[in-house]
Protein backbone atom coordinates (compact mmCIF):
# COMPACT_ATOMS: atom_id res chain seq x y z
CA UNK A 1 0.00 0.00 0.00
CA UNK A 2 1.34 3.38 -1.03
CA UNK A 3 0.98 6.15 1.57
CA UNK A 4 1.14 9.86 0.77
CA UNK A 5 1.51 12.64 3.34
CA UNK A 6 0.90 16.35 2.78
CA UNK A 7 1.54 19.67 4.50
CA UNK A 8 2.19 19.53 8.28
CA UNK A 9 1.69 15.74 8.30
CA UNK A 10 4.41 15.33 5.67
CA UNK A 11 6.77 17.65 7.53
CA UNK A 12 6.32 15.90 10.90
CA UNK A 13 6.86 12.46 9.39
CA UNK A 14 9.82 13.69 7.34
CA UNK A 15 8.73 12.14 4.03
CA UNK A 16 5.91 12.62 1.55
CA UNK A 17 5.59 9.00 0.55
CA UNK A 18 6.22 5.47 1.83
CA UNK A 19 5.13 1.94 1.00
CA UNK A 20 3.77 -0.23 3.83
CA UNK A 21 2.21 -3.67 4.30
CA UNK A 22 -0.15 -3.38 7.26
CA UNK A 23 -1.30 -6.58 9.02
CA UNK A 24 -4.83 -7.96 8.34
CA UNK A 25 -6.07 -6.44 11.63
CA UNK A 26 -5.75 -2.98 10.01
CA UNK A 27 -9.17 -2.65 8.36
CA UNK A 28 -10.00 1.09 8.38
CA UNK A 29 -8.12 4.36 7.84
CA UNK A 30 -8.25 4.91 11.61
CA UNK A 31 -6.70 1.45 12.19
CA UNK A 32 -3.95 2.35 9.73
CA UNK A 33 -3.23 5.66 11.49
CA UNK A 34 -3.11 3.89 14.85
CA UNK A 35 -0.71 1.29 13.48
CA UNK A 36 1.50 3.98 11.85
CA UNK A 37 1.87 5.84 15.18
CA UNK A 38 4.26 3.12 16.33
CA UNK A 39 6.59 3.57 13.35
CA UNK A 40 8.50 6.65 14.53
CA UNK A 41 8.31 9.66 16.80
CA UNK A 42 7.47 11.68 13.68
CA UNK A 43 4.48 9.46 12.86
CA UNK A 44 3.33 9.68 16.48
CA UNK A 45 3.56 13.49 16.39
CA UNK A 46 1.84 13.77 13.00
CA UNK A 47 -1.11 11.64 14.13
CA UNK A 48 -1.38 12.81 17.76
CA UNK A 49 -4.62 14.73 17.14
CA UNK A 50 -6.83 12.57 14.95
CA UNK A 51 -9.56 15.27 14.89
CA UNK A 52 -7.16 17.36 12.76
CA UNK A 53 -6.52 14.54 10.30
CA UNK A 54 -8.19 13.95 6.94
CA UNK A 55 -7.74 11.14 4.42
CA UNK A 56 -8.21 10.15 0.81
CA UNK A 57 -8.42 6.57 -0.48
CA UNK A 58 -7.33 6.20 -4.09
CA UNK A 59 -7.57 9.99 -4.56
CA UNK A 60 -11.08 10.44 -3.11
CA UNK A 61 -11.78 12.03 0.27
CA UNK A 62 -12.77 9.33 2.79
CA UNK A 63 -13.85 9.52 6.47
CA UNK A 64 -11.39 7.95 8.91
CA UNK A 65 -13.76 5.06 9.62
CA UNK A 66 -13.73 4.04 5.93
CA UNK A 67 -12.70 0.44 5.17
CA UNK A 68 -9.38 0.29 3.31
CA UNK A 69 -10.58 -2.61 1.13
CA UNK A 70 -8.05 -3.14 -1.65
CA UNK A 71 -6.88 0.48 -1.66
CA UNK A 72 -3.65 1.03 -3.57
CA UNK A 73 -3.03 4.61 -2.40
CA UNK A 74 -3.98 6.21 0.92
CA UNK A 75 -3.21 9.88 1.64
CA UNK A 76 -3.19 11.47 5.11
CA UNK A 77 -3.18 15.23 5.60
CA UNK A 78 -4.58 18.17 7.61
CA UNK A 79 -7.90 19.80 6.66
CA UNK A 80 -7.51 21.50 3.27
CA UNK A 81 -6.99 25.28 2.98
CA UNK A 82 -6.88 26.12 -0.71
CA UNK A 83 -8.81 28.66 -2.72
Amino acid sequence: MRLLYFAAVRERIGTGEEVVSPPPSVRTVADLVDWLKGHSAGHAAAFADITRLRAAIDQRFAPLDSELGDAGEVALFPPVTGG
Binding site: A8, R10, A56, Q59, P79, V80, G82, G83
Partner: protein
Protein backbone atom coordinates in the same frame (compact mmCIF):
# COMPACT_ATOMS: atom_id res chain seq x y z
CA UNK B 1 -16.14 24.27 -21.94
CA UNK B 2 -14.35 23.20 -18.76
CA UNK B 3 -10.81 24.36 -18.15
CA UNK B 4 -8.83 23.25 -15.09
CA UNK B 5 -5.28 24.40 -14.47
CA UNK B 6 -3.03 23.73 -11.45
CA UNK B 7 0.27 25.36 -12.18
CA UNK B 8 3.19 27.24 -10.57
CA UNK B 9 3.06 29.92 -13.29
CA UNK B 10 1.35 33.27 -12.61
CA UNK B 11 -2.36 33.35 -13.51
CA UNK B 12 -3.22 35.37 -16.63
CA UNK B 13 -6.77 36.66 -16.03
CA UNK B 14 -7.20 38.47 -19.34
CA UNK B 15 -6.45 35.31 -21.31
CA UNK B 16 -8.77 33.21 -19.12
CA UNK B 17 -11.64 35.72 -19.39
CA UNK B 18 -11.25 35.99 -23.15
CA UNK B 19 -11.65 32.22 -23.43
CA UNK B 20 -14.96 32.37 -21.56
CA UNK B 21 -16.23 35.42 -23.47
CA UNK B 22 -15.50 33.77 -26.82
CA UNK B 23 -18.14 31.12 -26.22
CA UNK B 24 -20.91 33.62 -26.81
CA UNK B 25 -22.31 33.74 -23.29
CA UNK B 26 -24.20 36.92 -22.45
CA UNK B 27 -22.89 36.92 -18.88
CA UNK B 28 -19.44 36.21 -17.46
CA UNK B 29 -18.62 36.24 -13.75
CA UNK B 30 -15.19 35.91 -12.22
CA UNK B 31 -13.53 35.65 -8.85
CA UNK B 32 -9.85 36.24 -8.13
CA UNK B 33 -8.24 35.36 -4.81
CA UNK B 34 -5.01 37.21 -4.10
CA UNK B 35 -2.29 36.87 -1.49
CA UNK B 36 -3.23 39.51 1.07
CA UNK B 37 -0.54 42.14 1.45
CA UNK B 38 -1.81 43.46 4.76
CA UNK B 39 -0.95 40.83 7.35
CA UNK B 40 2.83 40.54 7.34
CA UNK B 41 3.01 37.55 5.00
CA UNK B 42 6.17 37.73 2.89
CA UNK B 43 5.48 34.56 0.87
CA UNK B 44 2.55 32.17 0.52
CA UNK B 45 3.33 28.59 -0.47
CA UNK B 46 0.63 26.31 -1.90
CA UNK B 47 1.04 22.54 -1.66
CA UNK B 48 -1.35 20.18 -3.42
CA UNK B 49 -2.03 16.50 -4.17
CA UNK B 50 -1.14 16.05 -7.86
CA UNK B 51 -3.74 14.03 -9.71
CA UNK B 52 -6.41 14.20 -7.04
CA UNK B 53 -6.44 18.02 -7.21
CA UNK B 54 -7.22 18.15 -10.91
CA UNK B 55 -9.90 15.45 -10.54
CA UNK B 56 -11.56 17.28 -7.63
CA UNK B 57 -11.60 20.61 -9.53
CA UNK B 58 -12.94 18.94 -12.66
CA UNK B 59 -15.72 17.33 -10.64
CA UNK B 60 -16.70 20.74 -9.18
CA UNK B 61 -16.68 22.34 -12.64
CA UNK B 62 -18.92 19.55 -13.98
CA UNK B 63 -21.37 20.06 -11.11
CA UNK B 64 -21.51 23.81 -11.82
CA UNK B 65 -21.93 23.32 -15.57
CA UNK B 66 -24.94 21.04 -15.02
CA UNK B 67 -26.57 22.95 -12.15
CA UNK B 68 -26.50 26.41 -13.81
CA UNK B 69 -26.43 25.41 -17.51
CA UNK B 70 -23.13 27.18 -17.99
CA UNK B 71 -21.40 27.66 -21.32
CA UNK B 72 -18.05 27.45 -19.51
CA UNK B 73 -16.38 26.97 -16.14
CA UNK B 74 -12.73 27.81 -15.59
CA UNK B 75 -10.77 27.05 -12.41
CA UNK B 76 -7.12 28.06 -12.33
CA UNK B 77 -5.22 27.48 -9.09
CA UNK B 78 -1.62 28.45 -8.61
CA UNK B 79 0.73 26.22 -6.59
CA UNK B 80 4.21 26.73 -5.17
CA UNK B 81 5.54 29.97 -3.67
CA UNK B 82 3.95 33.33 -4.43
CA UNK B 83 4.32 36.92 -3.25
CA UNK B 84 1.78 39.30 -1.64
CA UNK B 85 -0.54 40.76 -4.28
CA UNK B 86 -0.15 37.76 -6.60
CA UNK B 87 -3.16 35.71 -7.70
CA UNK B 88 -3.73 32.39 -5.90
CA UNK B 89 -6.92 31.29 -7.58
CA UNK B 90 -9.10 32.42 -10.47
CA UNK B 91 -12.64 31.26 -11.27
CA UNK B 92 -14.67 32.29 -14.31
CA UNK B 93 -18.13 31.19 -15.39
CA UNK B 94 -20.10 31.94 -18.54
CA UNK B 95 -23.87 31.65 -18.92
CA UNK B 96 -26.75 33.14 -20.86
CA UNK B 97 -27.93 35.08 -17.79
CA UNK B 98 -26.23 36.93 -14.98
CA UNK B 99 -27.62 35.09 -11.96
CA UNK B 100 -26.47 31.71 -13.28
CA UNK B 101 -22.94 33.01 -13.90
CA UNK B 102 -22.71 34.78 -10.52
CA UNK B 103 -24.19 31.92 -8.46
CA UNK B 104 -21.97 29.34 -10.16
CA UNK B 105 -18.89 31.49 -9.53
CA UNK B 106 -19.75 31.80 -5.82
CA UNK B 107 -20.41 28.05 -5.62
CA UNK B 108 -17.07 27.21 -7.19
CA UNK B 109 -14.91 29.37 -4.92
CA UNK B 110 -16.78 28.18 -1.81
CA UNK B 111 -16.34 24.54 -2.78
CA UNK B 112 -12.73 24.84 -3.99
CA UNK B 113 -11.90 25.90 -0.43
CA UNK B 114 -13.26 22.68 1.08
CA UNK B 115 -13.33 20.04 -1.67
CA UNK B 116 -9.88 20.24 -3.28
CA UNK B 117 -6.61 19.07 -1.70
CA UNK B 118 -4.59 22.27 -1.34
CA UNK B 119 -2.68 23.46 1.74
CA UNK B 120 -1.42 26.99 2.40
CA UNK B 121 1.80 27.71 4.25
CA UNK B 122 2.48 31.32 5.23
CA UNK B 123 6.01 32.66 5.48
CA UNK B 124 6.64 35.74 7.61
CA UNK B 125 10.32 36.36 7.13
CA UNK B 126 12.03 33.17 8.38
CA UNK B 127 8.92 31.90 10.22
CA UNK B 128 6.62 29.40 8.49
CA UNK B 129 3.15 28.34 9.58
CA UNK B 130 0.48 26.14 8.00
CA UNK B 131 -2.87 27.92 7.66
CA UNK B 132 -5.62 26.36 9.79
CA UNK B 133 -8.89 25.38 8.14
CA UNK B 134 -11.82 27.60 9.11
CA UNK B 135 -15.28 26.48 10.21
CA UNK B 136 -16.71 29.41 8.24
CA UNK B 137 -15.41 27.82 5.03
CA UNK B 138 -17.19 24.55 5.83
CA UNK B 139 -20.39 26.49 6.53
CA UNK B 140 -20.06 28.43 3.26
CA UNK B 141 -19.55 25.21 1.29
CA UNK B 142 -22.50 23.54 3.02
CA UNK B 143 -24.85 26.33 1.88
CA UNK B 144 -24.73 24.78 -1.60
CA UNK B 145 -25.91 21.31 -0.56
CA UNK B 146 -29.52 21.99 -1.65
CA UNK B 147 -30.81 21.93 -5.18
CA UNK B 148 -31.81 25.61 -5.42
CA UNK B 149 -29.76 27.79 -7.72
CA UNK B 150 -28.60 29.99 -4.86
CA UNK B 151 -28.17 29.32 -1.13
CA UNK B 152 -30.66 30.49 1.50
Amino acid sequence: MIRISVDPAPIEVAVELAGVEELGAGAVASFTGLVRADDGVTCLELEHYPGMTEAALCDLAEQAMARWSLTSAVIVHRVGPMAPGERVVFIATGAAHRHAALSACAFLIDRVKTDAPFWKCEHRGAARSWVAARDSDDAAAARWAGQADRPA
